[in-house]
Symmetry: D2
Subunit: 461 residues, 4 copies
């Protein structure tokens, strides 16, 4: 087909170049948004007197029909028509003749592709937020279920202090709650209409850009036409939100992989979320968690990809910008899928709280409490720390735990130890003591579950 | 010096390991925040009855004094004391004996380093926002000064349509305005106090965490102790804000480099912002702009660096997290410096508007207007586009521009051309016509300068 | 279908998880290599006495047939069969019954996927090297064609010294020649056979691994089974080679974009490699070059993606490793396509050497020669540099070039100037003078073209 | 001080710009190479008749002296002198007057900085290779020491099959051996002399560039002057080598962190390489391994940083290139340090082989052998796999391991089981069976240690 811009050209586009520059293989994902944008533009042209009511109706009806065909998979996309916009436009012209071409009045591919992408980002940001919410609700659910259970809390992957399993879960609630704010920001950044910006300088028609924006459910028009067609910040915002979310998911996945090892054994993955080995019959592998963890790489790559493409680009539109779409599509799909499978997996995971209890018995996790006890009796913290350090070293040598200690034995290390220290060394006492705001004491954790639940309810509206 | 945690250890730290793990060479940048955090913690301990008023006073006075010595450069940091916290703590203990050690009550290095970094991020986010504001004010200033001037607007670095120089400037205003929102988000993310989270589980003292936060000018306490000590999202938010800002700066720099070439000649860089060559006497190089452009690389690197370090880390604190600081420090310094020099350079740049005018005469930049003219007379847009395309091809062959065209000549291409087309082909007519909201018409651009000026005034408060 | 590892599982895989973990949508690209690997494995099993000659024949024939069907597009891949290996295996079992299953003897999915990917990398590295060679041959061709032409050489995008157009072209020859070495290294890194490594520990069959390697055209077997199934270095090598090649291509593209601007005008892109604008009839945009430049982002992203995925992975195989394929496929396709279109474009570009000549007249590009002249007459270089600097500043003020200078005028700046300086200031004299090895003197450049041509011939073999 | 290029400039450099563009704070690390390069250049100028023997001697002596002062720390670097080259040059001129300036004949900052960096890369690549060798020798040493010990081999961090501890160690030997090849390639890429390339076009002096290269121990001169001053591939090669090495180190570190947990307990870190907690007295944290793992982030960042800076740079030298140094310096220091501490740590690690043995008893790690046994008796592999899967599921339910199985019990699952299966299920039998080349059989592993030892000896020369 003859290119719509062929007027000044002597030779036709090289076949290989046509394939190389074509984007319809992937940008067809924008079809629904392209249709919506075109309908809004048609109505705005009508309001400006460029189209008659009848013309507008016919355009709208035909566009809607094309959209339905695409949705149904009966529309044939052609590679030689370069991109999704040209494909739809060609169909329109074929069906409506000259009227199809009129839709291009007061619009350029530059503002058109921008509005399509903005609508996509806004919608996908919403879906990511939904995915985050579902995951957070699962977390709250599991946290409520296991409110009594205690597990070893780790620093450096070494047992540090006992914490509630629910407290551990709520830490992830915090992360995924922050993530939602990033997607919200990305959605808001996308939520403006560039239509009316033309190729770069604005259009010579008195288009009511607020009206267009309103039709598309966007908050208003962009303020500078040059910026409008060259801005991809809203995609970067989305990619960053996705990258940080994937980072959080990779941390949770890593913990699930480690906690489901034979050696830790704190969680048992649901069979539906694990896979076996084609060669080793005993294997039950945490594939889902591993794949989520591994996919952080691709989303980081998507982010850096667009940052690199944008680096040093002169204004306004440059064809480099076509490279904004695939990382966006890939990251959107990846993060939404990963949130979905993680929520599904977490909902069905079995927490082996007995195993956690047994682990607590071995880890010297109340050593800090022991030191705090000595401080309470007047010892300098540094000295108390050292005293307990010596006790631990001695017990390790003997292959024993704190539970083996009698008050008498303790007195050998410091005269300040009294009978009541035995109680202090228990896991329950330790978690109870940490009742500061944000701490792991059961009452606090219960309060935090309530707070989070309230937040979720508010967000609903 | 004996480590504060040496109790259970049989051997001392390997000298090389000590050097390898030491962070004092760079984390001393946190000293002022560490002092502030310690004073707030001391007061909170006093309120909780752990310290007497007198002890608190002595701690506060000595901490203030140490802070002053660090500020003045008279304090000696020791590498074998690992980090800034230990250095200050050691000085405190040396001067106050046992009382120094008491400050460690209810605090761990994990929440301490987090609060220091949060204060740093909050402050630097503010400075970056200041830098962005200064740059935006320069942009507005230059836009006002040159309100009449017209330049070729580019897409694909090919002359596209005429735009106001001020319109081009305002496009950057939009970018740097969006950047401020990202730094604000980073500052807000940092604006909570982790003190009271202890090592990971909360502390067994009834610390008033709201009080601590208030003393530090932070909005409130963090909600989950495990998340609090392992969260570095606020640094990532800062690094992303910096990366996008650098991307925008790299685009402006690229345009300044290109616009200051002998071939374009649209801008003349101030001598103070260019450098010469040690070997070629005629050179005046846009080094400042190039360096700003090149530094986008390091800030992208800083962002990816921390994203990688965080990937797959199990909770809560792991020593990997020490690697959060250098990318943060580097990005903060880089982005603030780049904003500063760019503002300085832009303030003094000479725009060669004559040269721009001459370029406009050659670029067929009103070809779109010519096509729109034909559309206005009833021609289908696609046909109009092609007609004008043929005119351009013909003129290019003859080495002429639109200004050479007579109405008669034009009629050879289409009978729809009339005498008034000559006016339409002028640059002035073209920009005037784009009076849609966000367009480049002088009246619109003037309005936008006013809007932006009003925004800047509001932001002041 | 029942999973091949379902023995110990109580529940079937969640449908969503199946979709999430499936890789057949993309790893079918490995089909031909998978078939080849299976045939080689079957023959090795035969040699070890595990399969009879007849069994081996039937397996080989059926595998070849399946391969032909895949090639022809008549084979139906099923998503629920997870990956390409399972799809082929299922077809094999369907057609051969139990015999199909026997092929799994002494082989695991872990060594199987590794050998497939290695064969892919080796083949694609070869194709990238072919693409580089073709591009280099175009460069040499153009360099020979234009051996006489002189252009301004730039530093900081400011005219610096005159250089031969051919010298500029040859600089890219050097880059693309280095790139080939990186792909060669990647191909060599891939060129070993992991078959026989089993899941991770080696297989309990006396397989002749040298024989397998030989059948596959690989140099030999891997030396450590654990490393063999977890090593992805050869993919990283490929991705890095691709990233650096894209960087070089982005530099060439940037120069073509700039050189084809109205303002520079040094090159005229072939119509077949440029595109127009749907709205601006005068436009001829360097889309191909821009897209190549922009695609550097995605390949950088591919590299970082796999580096991130590999970070911190414990041995040996983890499902994260499935994420190695898409960046590899994407980078391979991208770099090979970009090399192809760049070679095509460069072959047809018109160099406007007249325009280059005119630009040389204006750029003071022989200022260094002028300074060197004074040095030759005994002036200190620093003083000479300054003297010429003053001449340039004066001429710029007057809007004149060196060609306007008479010996008399020059004497006003220094008594050391003599009549012969006029010759020195010519572009021809300047390039002739740089006859040092690697310099831009026509004789040297001609010599370098010969050298490069000889290198290309040697590489042929 | 007046800039050496100030001739044509009307205003002096802005103070802030001077600070912003200065590189002496970091590029002083190149001082020794700058001195070496200058001496070689002086001698080459002498050979070309530009300098007398006496002048050359004086230059060389003074340069050597300046070098000694820098080495001794008595040389004062000045920020206002921009970079290391200017600092040395200024000192030279101060001590030798006009003669100092003569050294600039036939040399530009562009080829000068390139040669300095090349010498740096070559030297640091050598050091990294030394560091790798030391680490590999430690690995071989530990592998020899523990040749008998068996540990669970993991896939997906789930026990898979038994492997020799030495086999696990040798897998890392393979990785670190491949890494050396990448550093060798980087060193070779750096190993050419750009001196004589001048600013970009070559120099108008008959310098014997082979002679210069020989003096510097470089293999020869670069072939194209434009490429020579703009090429940074050799730095990218180094950064990539460093990134992959860090990836390998991050994997080893991850395993050490996991293996040293209370739950795994396979390794006990040397006290000198672990640290404690300032608050929790029982802690012994794997800080060194964590920090090495975390530092992968910064080196990945360094690599992406330079790739980004190079993207889309027009030839030849642009100031952006100044940004090549800090990532290089950072990555070189990081990778060399990390190799050093990892070698130190690995040399002193205690492997708890008893613990490994106990873990093997629980992990069903010989399940594959059990399946292979059934295959050997004629069962289809898929069926055998499923049979063993059912045995494992049953035992898991009962909380038992393979050691609990009697031949009778096994017969319940398949009649093919016989008395000899008990032997097959032992760990020793399993590793013995994998005697294929590259497998974990003790004889093979011993052979591989010998091979590797031989390789190390050859590399020595």
């Amino acid at each position: 087909m003859k290119k719509p811009w062929a007027g000044r050209f002597g030779a036709t586009t090289d076949k290989k170049v046509e394939e190389f520059t074509a984007s319809v293989a992937f940008d067809r994902q924008l079809a629904a948004y392209d249709i919506a944008g075109s309908i809004a533009h048609a109505r705005t042209l009508a309001r400006a007197g460029v189209l008659t009511a009848d013309e507008t109706d016919r355009l709208e009806r035909t566009l809607t029909q094309i959209g339905a065909e695409i949705e149904a998979g009966t529309f044939t996309f052609r590679d030689d028509l370069e991109d999704v916009h040209m494909n739809i436009e060609a169909a329109l012209s074929q069906r409506l003749g000259d009227l199809g071409g009129k839709l291009h009045t007061g619009r350029s591919r530059n503002d058109q592709v921008s509005v399509d992408t903005r609508l996509f980002v806004k919608e996908r940001a919403g879906r990511a937020m939904d995915g985050l919410k579902r995951l957070r609700l699962v977390i709250l659910d599991r946290a409520e279920q296991h409110i009594g259970a205690v597990m070893p809390g780790y620093t450096h992957l070494q047992p540090a202090q006992p914490v509630l399993l629910s407290h551990w879960l709520l830490a992830y609630w915090e992360m995924f709650h922050r993530d939602a704010a990033r997607f919200r920001a990305a959605g808001n950044a996308a939520d403006v209409s560039p239509l009316g910006s033309g190729a770069l300088a604005g259009v010579p028609y008195t288009l009511d850009r607020d009206y267009t924006a309103g039709l598309l459910g966007l908050s208003g028009p962009t303020a500078n036409s040059m910026d409008a067609v060259s801005d991809r910040d809203f995609i970067l915002d989305f990619l960053f939100a996705a990258a940080v979310t994937m980072m959080h998911l990779s941390r949770l996945s890593e913990e699930l992989v480690i906690f489901s090892t034979a050696e830790f054994g704190y969680v048992i993955l649901p069979d539906g979320y694990a896979t076996g080995s084609s060669i080793m019959p005993q294997k039950k592998n945490p594939d889902t968690a591993e794949l989520v963890r591994g996919k952080s790489g691709r989303v980081y790559g998507d982010l850096i990809s667009l940052l690199v493409t944008m680096k040093g680009l002169p204004m306004t539109y440059n064809r480099d910008l076509q490279e904004d779409k695939e990382p966006l599509f890939d990251a959107a799909r990846t993060v939404i899928d990963c949130l979905g499978v993680t929520a599904g997996m977490l909902a069905k995971i079995t927490f082996d709280t007995d195993r956690m209890s047994r682990a607590l018995a071995k880890g010297f996790v109340t050593a800090t409490d022991c030191a705090d006890y000595l401080v309470g009796r007047g010892m300098n913290f540094r000295e108390a720390h050292e005293t307990v350090g010596r006790i631990v070293a001695q017990l390790e040598k003997e292959g024993k735990g704190f539970e083996s200690l009698s008050p008498e034995r303790l007195k050998e290390f410091s005269a300040l130890f009294d009978r009541d220290v035995i109680q202090i060394l228990t896991v329950d006492s330790s978690v109870q003591a940490r009742s500061v705001f944000g701490g792991t004491a059961p009452s606090r954790v219960a309060e935090m579950i309530e707070r989070a639940t309230a937040v979720e309810k508010e967000d609903m509206t």
